[in-house]
Protein backbone atom coordinates (compact mmCIF):
# COMPACT_ATOMS: atom_id res chain seq x y z
CA UNK A 1 0.00 0.00 0.00
CA UNK A 2 2.81 2.37 1.04
CA UNK A 3 4.80 1.46 -2.07
CA UNK A 4 1.71 2.06 -4.17
CA UNK A 5 1.24 5.49 -2.62
CA UNK A 6 4.89 6.36 -3.16
CA UNK A 7 4.71 5.44 -6.80
CA UNK A 8 2.09 8.15 -7.17
CA UNK A 9 4.54 10.79 -6.01
CA UNK A 10 5.99 12.46 -9.04
CA UNK A 11 8.66 14.93 -7.91
CA UNK A 12 8.52 16.71 -11.23
CA UNK A 13 4.86 17.59 -10.63
CA UNK A 14 5.51 19.63 -7.47
CA UNK A 15 5.44 23.44 -7.81
CA UNK A 16 8.76 23.86 -6.02
CA UNK A 17 12.36 23.41 -6.98
CA UNK A 18 14.01 20.33 -5.48
CA UNK A 19 17.79 20.27 -5.65
CA UNK A 20 20.60 18.09 -4.39
CA UNK A 21 24.02 19.75 -4.25
CA UNK A 22 27.42 18.57 -3.09
CA UNK A 23 28.21 20.04 0.34
CA UNK A 24 31.80 20.75 -0.62
CA UNK A 25 31.74 21.92 -4.20
CA UNK A 26 28.15 23.20 -4.46
CA UNK A 27 27.73 21.20 -7.71
CA UNK A 28 24.13 20.44 -8.58
CA UNK A 29 23.85 16.65 -8.63
CA UNK A 30 20.15 16.33 -9.17
CA UNK A 31 17.01 18.44 -9.50
CA UNK A 32 13.39 18.12 -10.54
CA UNK A 33 11.88 19.39 -13.79
CA UNK A 34 10.43 22.44 -12.04
CA UNK A 35 13.84 24.03 -12.54
CA UNK A 36 12.77 24.83 -16.11
CA UNK A 37 9.77 26.83 -14.84
CA UNK A 38 11.52 28.48 -11.95
CA UNK A 39 14.92 29.32 -13.44
CA UNK A 40 14.02 29.29 -17.17
CA UNK A 41 16.93 26.92 -17.79
CA UNK A 42 16.87 23.47 -19.36
CA UNK A 43 17.03 20.62 -16.89
CA UNK A 44 20.11 19.06 -18.46
CA UNK A 45 21.92 22.43 -18.53
CA UNK A 46 21.55 22.84 -14.79
CA UNK A 47 23.11 19.55 -13.79
CA UNK A 48 26.77 19.79 -12.84
CA UNK A 49 26.67 23.55 -12.61
CA UNK A 50 27.33 25.19 -9.25
CA UNK A 51 24.38 26.39 -7.19
CA UNK A 52 26.29 29.67 -6.91
CA UNK A 53 25.62 30.22 -10.64
CA UNK A 54 21.93 30.61 -9.73
CA UNK A 55 22.32 32.72 -6.58
CA UNK A 56 22.63 36.50 -6.47
CA UNK A 57 25.93 37.87 -5.17
CA UNK A 58 24.20 39.04 -1.98
CA UNK A 59 22.81 35.54 -1.48
CA UNK A 60 26.31 34.13 -1.94
CA UNK A 61 27.51 36.21 1.01
CA UNK A 62 24.50 35.10 3.04
CA UNK A 63 25.20 31.50 2.03
CA UNK A 64 28.87 31.61 3.06
CA UNK A 65 28.34 33.71 6.19
CA UNK A 66 25.14 32.22 7.61
CA UNK A 67 23.66 29.32 5.71
CA UNK A 68 26.68 27.07 5.25
CA UNK A 69 28.06 27.59 8.81
CA UNK A 70 24.56 26.93 10.17
CA UNK A 71 24.24 23.72 8.17
CA UNK A 72 27.73 22.57 9.17
CA UNK A 73 26.78 23.21 12.79
CA UNK A 74 23.23 21.90 12.99
CA UNK A 75 22.60 20.04 9.73
CA UNK A 76 19.85 22.32 8.48
CA UNK A 77 18.76 25.81 7.61
CA UNK A 78 15.03 26.32 7.48
CA UNK A 79 12.99 29.07 5.85
CA UNK A 80 15.74 31.34 4.62
CA UNK A 81 14.92 33.96 2.02
CA UNK A 82 17.32 34.06 -0.90
CA UNK A 83 17.47 35.63 -4.35
CA UNK A 84 17.76 33.33 -7.36
CA UNK A 85 19.04 34.36 -10.77
CA UNK A 86 16.51 33.38 -13.38
CA UNK A 87 17.18 33.26 -17.12
CA UNK A 88 19.70 35.84 -18.23
CA UNK A 89 19.81 38.07 -15.16
CA UNK A 90 16.36 38.34 -13.63
CA UNK A 91 16.19 38.24 -9.86
CA UNK A 92 13.61 35.96 -8.26
CA UNK A 93 12.90 36.10 -4.51
CA UNK A 94 12.60 32.61 -3.04
CA UNK A 95 12.44 30.79 0.27
CA UNK A 96 14.65 27.75 0.82
CA UNK A 97 14.64 24.90 3.30
CA UNK A 98 17.97 23.09 3.27
CA UNK A 99 19.06 19.94 5.09
CA UNK A 100 22.32 18.02 5.06
CA UNK A 101 22.04 14.32 4.28
CA UNK A 102 24.75 11.87 3.15
CA UNK A 103 27.22 14.65 2.40
CA UNK A 104 24.76 16.48 0.16
CA UNK A 105 22.54 19.48 0.64
CA UNK A 106 18.86 18.85 -0.10
CA UNK A 107 17.08 22.03 -1.05
CA UNK A 108 13.37 22.69 -1.44
CA UNK A 109 12.93 26.15 -2.90
CA UNK A 110 9.66 28.04 -3.22
CA UNK A 111 8.99 31.21 -5.15
CA UNK A 112 8.42 34.11 -2.72
CA UNK A 113 7.60 37.11 -4.89
CA UNK A 114 4.49 38.07 -2.93
CA UNK A 115 6.09 37.43 0.47
CA UNK A 116 9.01 39.57 -0.65
CA UNK A 117 6.66 42.48 -1.45
CA UNK A 118 5.02 42.14 1.96
CA UNK A 119 8.39 42.06 3.73
CA UNK A 120 9.54 45.09 1.76
CA UNK A 121 6.43 46.97 2.91
CA UNK A 122 7.20 45.93 6.49
CA UNK A 123 10.78 47.14 6.17
CA UNK A 124 9.65 50.45 4.68
CA UNK A 125 7.13 50.90 7.50
CA UNK A 126 9.75 50.06 10.09
CA UNK A 127 12.22 52.52 8.56
CA UNK A 128 9.58 55.27 8.59
CA UNK A 129 8.72 54.47 12.20
CA UNK A 130 12.39 54.48 13.11
CA UNK A 131 12.92 57.85 11.44
CA UNK A 132 9.85 59.34 13.14
CA UNK A 133 11.03 58.01 16.49
CA UNK A 134 14.42 59.61 16.04
CA UNK A 135 12.79 62.91 15.12
CA UNK A 136 10.54 62.71 18.18
CA UNK A 137 13.46 61.89 20.45
CA UNK A 138 15.29 64.98 19.16
CA UNK A 139 12.17 67.10 19.65
CA UNK A 140 11.62 65.92 23.21
CA UNK A 141 15.27 66.41 24.19
CA UNK A 142 15.99 69.86 22.80
CA UNK A 143 15.06 73.30 24.00
CA UNK A 144 13.24 74.80 20.98
CA UNK A 145 14.73 78.30 21.28
CA UNK A 146 18.40 77.51 21.89
CA UNK A 147 18.62 73.98 20.43
CA UNK A 148 20.60 72.98 23.51
CA UNK A 149 19.47 69.99 25.61
CA UNK A 150 16.47 70.74 27.80
CA UNK A 151 16.56 70.15 31.54
CA UNK A 152 14.94 66.71 31.40
CA UNK A 153 17.35 65.38 28.74
CA UNK A 154 20.30 66.87 30.63
CA UNK A 155 19.14 65.13 33.80
CA UNK A 156 19.12 61.79 31.95
CA UNK A 157 22.58 62.31 30.44
CA UNK A 158 24.08 63.55 33.69
CA UNK A 159 22.68 60.57 35.58
CA UNK A 160 24.31 58.29 32.99
CA UNK A 161 27.61 60.12 33.52
CA UNK A 162 27.29 59.78 37.29
CA UNK A 163 26.53 56.04 36.99
CA UNK A 164 29.68 55.56 34.93
CA UNK A 165 31.64 57.57 37.45
CA UNK A 166 30.31 55.35 40.25
CA UNK A 167 31.78 52.31 38.51
CA UNK A 168 35.08 54.00 37.71
CA UNK A 169 35.71 57.50 39.02
CA UNK A 170 35.86 60.19 36.33
CA UNK A 171 36.28 63.84 37.39
CA UNK A 172 33.28 65.94 36.35
CA UNK A 173 32.92 69.72 36.58
CA UNK A 174 29.44 71.23 37.04
CA UNK A 175 29.31 74.75 35.61
CA UNK A 176 26.18 76.78 36.30
CA UNK A 177 25.90 79.92 34.16
CA UNK A 178 23.61 82.91 34.43
CA UNK A 179 23.35 85.83 31.98
CA UNK A 180 24.00 89.04 33.90
CA UNK A 181 21.17 91.58 34.11
CA UNK A 182 19.03 89.55 31.75
CA UNK A 183 15.73 90.83 33.18
CA UNK A 184 16.82 94.44 32.66
CA UNK A 185 17.85 93.64 29.09
CA UNK A 186 14.44 92.07 28.43
CA UNK A 187 12.61 95.03 29.94
CA UNK A 188 14.68 97.59 28.07
CA UNK A 189 14.86 96.05 24.57
CA UNK A 190 11.93 93.61 24.52
CA UNK A 191 11.60 89.81 24.53
CA UNK A 192 12.79 89.36 20.95
CA UNK A 193 16.16 90.85 21.87
CA UNK A 194 16.21 88.78 25.04
CA UNK A 195 15.67 85.66 22.97
CA UNK A 196 18.45 86.75 20.63
CA UNK A 197 20.82 87.08 23.60
CA UNK A 198 19.85 83.59 24.79
CA UNK A 199 20.54 82.15 21.32
CA UNK A 200 23.90 83.89 20.97
CA UNK A 201 25.03 82.75 24.42
CA UNK A 202 23.85 79.20 23.65
CA UNK A 203 25.83 79.14 20.42
CA UNK A 204 29.00 80.16 22.25
CA UNK A 205 28.42 77.53 24.96
CA UNK A 206 27.72 74.80 22.40
CA UNK A 207 30.81 75.67 20.38
CA UNK A 208 33.01 75.70 23.48
CA UNK A 209 32.17 72.12 24.53
CA UNK A 210 33.10 68.63 23.36
CA UNK A 211 30.69 65.86 22.34
CA UNK A 212 31.33 64.15 25.65
CA UNK A 213 30.16 67.18 27.70
CA UNK A 214 26.55 68.00 28.58
CA UNK A 215 25.34 71.50 27.67
CA UNK A 216 21.79 72.48 28.49
CA UNK A 217 19.38 75.33 29.11
CA UNK A 218 18.71 74.74 32.77
CA UNK A 219 15.85 77.22 32.88
CA UNK A 220 15.18 80.91 32.02
CA UNK A 221 18.54 82.58 31.47
CA UNK A 222 20.41 79.83 33.33
CA UNK A 223 22.58 77.21 31.64
CA UNK A 224 24.38 74.11 32.92
CA UNK A 225 27.51 72.55 31.48
CA UNK A 226 28.95 69.30 32.80
CA UNK A 227 32.51 68.86 31.64
CA UNK A 228 33.48 65.21 31.30
CA UNK A 229 36.86 64.16 32.64
CA UNK A 230 37.92 67.68 33.61
CA UNK A 231 40.22 68.47 36.53
CA UNK A 232 40.34 71.80 38.42
CA UNK A 233 42.97 73.38 36.14
CA UNK A 234 41.15 72.48 32.92
CA UNK A 235 37.92 73.82 34.36
CA UNK A 236 39.49 77.18 35.27
CA UNK A 237 40.87 77.52 31.74
CA UNK A 238 37.50 76.58 30.27
CA UNK A 239 35.61 79.18 32.34
CA UNK A 240 38.15 81.90 31.50
CA UNK A 241 37.64 81.06 27.83
CA UNK A 242 33.86 81.33 28.22
CA UNK A 243 34.10 84.83 29.69
CA UNK A 244 36.43 85.83 26.84
CA UNK A 245 34.16 84.37 24.14
CA UNK A 246 31.16 86.23 25.58
CA UNK A 247 32.89 89.53 24.80
CA UNK A 248 31.89 89.04 21.17
CA UNK A 249 28.18 89.07 22.02
CA UNK A 250 26.31 92.37 22.00
CA UNK A 251 22.62 93.22 21.96
CA UNK A 252 21.88 96.81 20.91
CA UNK A 253 25.49 97.76 21.68
CA UNK A 254 25.14 96.29 25.16
CA UNK A 255 27.82 93.75 26.01
CA UNK A 256 26.57 90.47 27.35
CA UNK A 257 28.40 89.05 30.35
CA UNK A 258 27.85 85.93 32.41
CA UNK A 259 28.36 84.82 35.98
CA UNK A 260 29.52 81.29 36.67
CA UNK A 261 29.41 78.98 39.69
CA UNK A 262 31.47 75.79 39.59
CA UNK A 263 31.52 72.63 41.67
CA UNK A 264 33.39 69.36 41.11
CA UNK A 265 32.39 65.76 41.55
CA UNK A 266 34.78 64.29 44.09
CA UNK A 267 35.47 60.65 44.84
CA UNK A 268 33.77 61.27 48.20
CA UNK A 269 30.56 62.39 46.45
CA UNK A 270 30.05 59.15 44.57
CA UNK A 271 29.18 57.29 47.75
CA UNK A 272 26.33 59.68 48.52
CA UNK A 273 22.78 58.87 47.46
CA UNK A 274 21.74 62.40 46.51
CA UNK A 275 25.07 63.42 45.03
CA UNK A 276 23.62 65.23 42.03
CA UNK A 277 21.52 67.53 44.24
CA UNK A 278 24.50 68.21 46.51
CA UNK A 279 26.86 69.09 43.65
CA UNK A 280 24.23 71.35 42.09
CA UNK A 281 23.64 73.03 45.43
CA UNK A 282 27.36 73.81 45.69
CA UNK A 283 27.43 75.17 42.12
CA UNK A 284 24.37 77.29 42.87
CA UNK A 285 25.98 78.74 46.00
CA UNK A 286 29.13 79.55 44.00
CA UNK A 287 27.01 81.24 41.31
CA UNK A 288 25.25 83.33 43.96
CA UNK A 289 28.64 84.36 45.27
CA UNK A 290 29.82 85.35 41.77
CA UNK A 291 26.78 87.60 41.40
CA UNK A 292 27.30 89.10 44.84
CA UNK A 293 30.91 89.89 44.03
CA UNK A 294 29.90 92.03 41.07
CA UNK A 295 29.01 89.55 38.28
CA UNK A 296 31.00 88.75 35.09
CA UNK A 297 33.21 86.33 37.04
CA UNK A 298 33.53 82.71 38.14
CA UNK A 299 33.44 81.41 41.67
CA UNK A 300 34.49 77.90 42.60
CA UNK A 301 32.94 75.84 45.32
CA UNK A 302 35.41 74.51 47.87
CA UNK A 303 34.46 70.89 48.39
Amino acid sequence: MLREQRSLINLDAFPCLLLVTDLESNRIKSCNQYVETMLCTKHNEVLDKSISDFLSKATLILFESYIRPLILDSGECIEVQITLIKGLNEKLPAVANIILKDGCLHWSIFSATERDKLYQELIDSRDRLEQKTEELIVLTRLDPLTQLLNRRAANEDINDMLSKSRRKFIPLAFILIDIDHFKALNDKFGHAQGDDALKQVSDVLGQSCRDTDVVCRWGGEEFLIVLYDSNANNTVQFCDRLHKNMQNITVYQTNITISIGVSHLTSRDIKKKNMFEQIMKRADTALYEAKNKGRNRTEYSIN
Binding site: S52, K57, L60, E64, R68, P69, T133, R167
Partner: protein, 270 residues
Protein backbone atom coordinates in the same frame (compact mmCIF):
# COMPACT_ATOMS: atom_id res chain seq x y z
CA UNK B 1 28.59 42.39 43.85
CA UNK B 2 30.23 44.94 41.56
CA UNK B 3 32.39 43.55 38.76
CA UNK B 4 35.83 44.97 38.12
CA UNK B 5 36.43 46.68 34.77
CA UNK B 6 38.26 43.57 33.48
CA UNK B 7 35.50 41.24 34.63
CA UNK B 8 32.95 43.45 32.92
CA UNK B 9 34.80 43.16 29.61
CA UNK B 10 35.14 39.37 29.91
CA UNK B 11 31.42 39.13 30.66
CA UNK B 12 30.50 41.61 27.93
CA UNK B 13 32.30 39.65 25.22
CA UNK B 14 31.40 36.20 26.60
CA UNK B 15 35.12 35.38 26.85
CA UNK B 16 36.06 31.71 27.38
CA UNK B 17 39.61 30.57 28.05
CA UNK B 18 40.38 26.90 27.40
CA UNK B 19 43.37 24.67 26.74
CA UNK B 20 46.87 24.34 28.07
CA UNK B 21 50.05 25.92 26.87
CA UNK B 22 52.32 28.86 27.41
CA UNK B 23 51.34 30.47 24.11
CA UNK B 24 47.96 32.17 23.84
CA UNK B 25 45.84 31.93 20.71
CA UNK B 26 42.94 34.34 20.44
CA UNK B 27 40.32 33.16 17.94
CA UNK B 28 38.12 35.87 16.44
CA UNK B 29 34.98 34.87 14.54
CA UNK B 30 33.91 36.63 11.37
CA UNK B 31 30.74 38.35 10.28
CA UNK B 32 27.58 36.29 10.70
CA UNK B 33 28.50 33.85 13.44
CA UNK B 34 30.03 33.59 16.87
CA UNK B 35 32.75 31.72 18.76
CA UNK B 36 30.99 28.39 18.26
CA UNK B 37 32.26 28.32 14.70
CA UNK B 38 35.69 27.43 16.15
CA UNK B 39 34.40 24.25 17.75
CA UNK B 40 35.86 21.98 15.04
CA UNK B 41 39.29 23.57 15.41
CA UNK B 42 39.72 23.98 19.18
CA UNK B 43 39.93 20.24 20.03
CA UNK B 44 42.91 20.03 17.65
CA UNK B 45 44.81 22.85 19.37
CA UNK B 46 43.79 22.94 23.02
CA UNK B 47 46.50 20.50 24.13
CA UNK B 48 49.24 22.84 22.92
CA UNK B 49 47.80 26.31 23.34
CA UNK B 50 45.87 28.43 25.77
CA UNK B 51 42.89 29.47 23.65
CA UNK B 52 40.83 32.62 24.12
CA UNK B 53 37.37 32.59 22.54
CA UNK B 54 34.94 35.49 22.49
CA UNK B 55 31.91 37.03 20.77
CA UNK B 56 31.99 40.59 19.49
CA UNK B 57 29.37 42.75 21.19
CA UNK B 58 26.15 42.22 19.22
CA UNK B 59 27.03 38.62 18.33
CA UNK B 60 26.40 35.27 20.00
CA UNK B 61 26.04 35.42 23.75
CA UNK B 62 27.68 38.79 24.21
CA UNK B 63 26.04 41.32 26.53
CA UNK B 64 23.70 43.08 24.12
CA UNK B 65 23.03 45.86 26.61
CA UNK B 66 26.67 46.92 26.09
CA UNK B 67 26.06 47.56 22.39
CA UNK B 68 26.97 51.10 21.33
CA UNK B 69 25.62 52.16 17.97
CA UNK B 70 28.36 54.70 17.39
CA UNK B 71 31.26 52.43 18.36
CA UNK B 72 30.27 49.52 16.12
CA UNK B 73 29.75 51.58 12.99
CA UNK B 74 33.22 50.72 11.78
CA UNK B 75 35.81 47.99 12.25
CA UNK B 76 37.85 50.12 14.66
CA UNK B 77 35.02 49.65 17.18
CA UNK B 78 35.25 45.86 16.87
CA UNK B 79 39.06 46.15 17.15
CA UNK B 80 38.51 47.91 20.49
CA UNK B 81 36.75 44.75 21.73
CA UNK B 82 39.90 42.75 20.90
CA UNK B 83 42.18 45.35 22.50
CA UNK B 84 40.12 45.42 25.68
CA UNK B 85 39.90 41.62 25.94
CA UNK B 86 43.69 41.19 25.58
CA UNK B 87 44.26 43.96 28.12
CA UNK B 88 41.69 42.52 30.54
CA UNK B 89 43.43 39.14 30.38
CA UNK B 90 46.82 40.86 30.46
CA UNK B 91 48.00 38.77 27.52
CA UNK B 92 51.26 39.59 25.79
CA UNK B 93 52.60 38.06 22.58
CA UNK B 94 49.29 36.49 21.61
CA UNK B 95 48.79 34.80 18.28
CA UNK B 96 45.68 36.31 16.76
CA UNK B 97 43.64 34.02 14.50
CA UNK B 98 40.93 35.89 12.62
CA UNK B 99 38.35 34.57 10.21
CA UNK B 100 37.44 36.74 7.23
CA UNK B 101 36.78 40.32 8.38
CA UNK B 102 38.35 39.56 11.76
CA UNK B 103 41.72 39.37 10.03
CA UNK B 104 41.43 43.10 9.37
CA UNK B 105 39.99 43.72 12.84
CA UNK B 106 43.00 41.94 14.40
CA UNK B 107 45.35 43.94 12.21
CA UNK B 108 43.79 47.23 13.38
CA UNK B 109 44.03 46.12 17.02
CA UNK B 110 47.69 45.17 16.57
CA UNK B 111 48.50 48.78 15.60
CA UNK B 112 47.07 50.04 18.87
CA UNK B 113 48.66 47.49 21.24
CA UNK B 114 51.50 45.83 19.29
CA UNK B 115 53.09 44.39 22.42
CA UNK B 116 50.09 42.14 23.00
CA UNK B 117 50.48 40.47 19.58
CA UNK B 118 53.28 38.24 18.32
CA UNK B 119 51.82 36.86 15.07
CA UNK B 120 48.62 36.94 13.07
CA UNK B 121 46.85 34.15 11.20
CA UNK B 122 44.30 35.33 8.65
CA UNK B 123 41.73 32.78 7.45
CA UNK B 124 40.05 33.75 4.16
CA UNK B 125 40.75 37.47 4.64
CA UNK B 126 39.83 40.40 2.44
CA UNK B 127 40.79 44.04 3.04
CA UNK B 128 37.95 45.28 0.82
CA UNK B 129 34.98 43.44 -0.66
CA UNK B 130 34.08 46.17 -3.15
CA UNK B 131 35.03 46.26 -6.80
CA UNK B 132 36.98 49.45 -7.43
CA UNK B 133 37.58 49.22 -11.19
CA UNK B 134 41.03 49.67 -12.71
CA UNK B 135 42.53 49.31 -9.31
CA UNK B 136 41.07 46.50 -7.25
CA UNK B 137 38.40 43.82 -7.52
CA UNK B 138 37.02 42.76 -4.18
CA UNK B 139 34.28 40.70 -5.83
CA UNK B 140 31.15 42.75 -5.15
CA UNK B 141 29.38 45.82 -6.45
CA UNK B 142 27.85 48.29 -4.02
CA UNK B 143 24.36 47.23 -5.13
CA UNK B 144 25.14 43.59 -4.25
CA UNK B 145 26.01 44.67 -0.75
CA UNK B 146 22.91 46.82 -0.46
CA UNK B 147 20.87 43.78 -1.49
CA UNK B 148 22.63 41.83 1.26
CA UNK B 149 21.50 44.34 3.89
CA UNK B 150 17.96 44.07 2.53
CA UNK B 151 18.08 40.25 2.55
CA UNK B 152 19.23 40.29 6.15
CA UNK B 153 16.19 42.37 7.03
CA UNK B 154 13.93 39.93 5.24
CA UNK B 155 15.44 36.98 7.06
CA UNK B 156 14.79 38.33 10.48
CA UNK B 157 11.67 37.04 12.13
CA UNK B 158 11.87 38.82 15.45
CA UNK B 159 10.13 41.98 14.32
CA UNK B 160 8.40 42.47 17.65
CA UNK B 161 11.72 42.46 19.46
CA UNK B 162 13.09 44.94 17.00
CA UNK B 163 10.16 47.29 17.23
CA UNK B 164 9.74 47.15 21.00
CA UNK B 165 12.74 49.36 21.82
CA UNK B 166 11.57 51.91 19.26
CA UNK B 167 8.24 52.19 21.00
CA UNK B 168 9.47 51.88 24.55
CA UNK B 169 12.67 53.89 24.22
CA UNK B 170 15.94 52.25 23.36
CA UNK B 171 17.71 52.28 26.69
CA UNK B 172 19.54 48.99 26.05
CA UNK B 173 18.29 47.66 29.36
CA UNK B 174 18.87 43.95 29.82
CA UNK B 175 15.13 43.43 30.31
CA UNK B 176 14.40 44.67 26.83
CA UNK B 177 17.30 43.10 25.05
CA UNK B 178 17.60 39.36 25.04
CA UNK B 179 20.04 36.79 23.90
CA UNK B 180 20.21 36.21 20.20
CA UNK B 181 18.38 33.14 19.01
CA UNK B 182 19.72 29.80 20.13
CA UNK B 183 21.09 29.34 16.65
CA UNK B 184 24.67 30.53 16.50
CA UNK B 185 24.04 32.56 13.40
CA UNK B 186 21.64 35.41 13.82
CA UNK B 187 20.46 38.08 11.47
CA UNK B 188 19.02 40.45 14.06
CA UNK B 189 19.31 43.62 11.99
CA UNK B 190 19.96 45.86 14.97
CA UNK B 191 23.41 44.31 15.42
CA UNK B 192 24.07 42.40 12.20
CA UNK B 193 23.39 45.24 9.79
CA UNK B 194 25.98 47.63 11.25
CA UNK B 195 28.48 44.74 11.29
CA UNK B 196 27.63 43.96 7.65
CA UNK B 197 28.07 47.61 6.67
CA UNK B 198 31.35 47.90 8.59
CA UNK B 199 32.56 44.69 6.95
CA UNK B 200 31.46 45.00 3.37
CA UNK B 201 31.52 48.75 2.70
CA UNK B 202 34.95 49.39 4.21
CA UNK B 203 38.31 49.60 2.51
CA UNK B 204 41.37 48.84 4.65
CA UNK B 205 43.88 48.25 1.87
CA UNK B 206 45.97 51.24 2.88
CA UNK B 207 46.45 49.78 6.38
CA UNK B 208 48.05 46.54 5.15
CA UNK B 209 51.60 47.83 4.71
CA UNK B 210 51.69 49.08 8.30
CA UNK B 211 51.43 45.55 9.65
CA UNK B 212 54.76 44.60 11.25
CA UNK B 213 53.91 41.26 12.83
CA UNK B 214 54.65 37.99 11.01
CA UNK B 215 51.42 36.98 9.28
CA UNK B 216 50.14 33.74 7.79
CA UNK B 217 47.39 34.04 5.20
CA UNK B 218 45.29 30.92 4.64
CA UNK B 219 43.18 31.19 1.53
CA UNK B 220 40.68 28.70 0.16
CA UNK B 221 41.26 27.66 -3.46
CA UNK B 222 37.55 28.18 -4.24
CA UNK B 223 36.03 30.94 -2.17
CA UNK B 224 33.37 33.18 -3.66
CA UNK B 225 33.88 35.82 -0.94
CA UNK B 226 37.67 36.09 -0.83
CA UNK B 227 39.48 34.87 -3.94
CA UNK B 228 43.05 33.60 -4.19
CA UNK B 229 43.91 36.85 -6.02
CA UNK B 230 42.89 38.81 -2.94
CA UNK B 231 45.18 36.58 -0.87
CA UNK B 232 48.07 37.40 -3.23
CA UNK B 233 47.21 41.11 -3.02
CA UNK B 234 47.41 40.99 0.78
CA UNK B 235 50.62 38.97 0.77
CA UNK B 236 52.26 41.56 -1.48
CA UNK B 237 51.24 44.40 0.82
CA UNK B 238 52.00 42.83 4.22
CA UNK B 239 55.75 42.82 4.80
CA UNK B 240 56.34 39.68 6.85
CA UNK B 241 53.65 37.51 5.34
CA UNK B 242 53.36 34.06 3.85
CA UNK B 243 50.37 32.60 2.08
CA UNK B 244 49.11 29.04 1.90
CA UNK B 245 46.35 28.08 -0.50
CA UNK B 246 44.27 25.22 0.85
CA UNK B 247 42.41 23.07 -1.65
CA UNK B 248 38.84 23.55 -0.55
CA UNK B 249 35.51 25.09 -1.42
CA UNK B 250 33.89 27.88 0.57
CA UNK B 251 34.77 30.59 3.01
CA UNK B 252 34.96 28.63 6.26
CA UNK B 253 38.21 26.69 6.11
CA UNK B 254 38.32 26.28 9.87
CA UNK B 255 34.99 24.42 9.70
CA UNK B 256 35.54 22.42 6.54
CA UNK B 257 39.32 21.75 6.82
CA UNK B 258 39.99 22.06 10.57
CA UNK B 259 42.87 19.58 10.70
CA UNK B 260 44.77 21.31 7.87
CA UNK B 261 44.17 24.71 9.44
CA UNK B 262 45.32 23.40 12.85
CA UNK B 263 48.51 21.99 11.30
CA UNK B 264 49.26 25.25 9.51
CA UNK B 265 48.75 27.24 12.70
CA UNK B 266 50.95 24.87 14.71
CA UNK B 267 53.77 25.00 12.15
CA UNK B 268 53.56 28.78 11.90
CA UNK B 269 53.55 29.28 15.66
CA UNK B 270 56.26 26.88 16.74
Amino acid sequence: MLMSASQEILHRNNVKVIGNGSTTLILAHGFGCDQNMWRFLTPLLDADFRIVLFDYVGCGKSDLSAYKKQRYQNLAGYAEDVEEILSALNVVDAIFVGHSVSSVIGMLASYKIPERFSKLVMICPSPCFLNLPQDYFGGFEREDLEELINLMDKNYIGWANYLAPLVMGDNNSPELTRELTSSFCSTDPKFAKPFAKATFFSDHRSALDKLEHPTLILQSSNDSLASVDIGHYMQNKIRQSTMEIIQAYGHCLHMTRPSIVADKIRTFCC
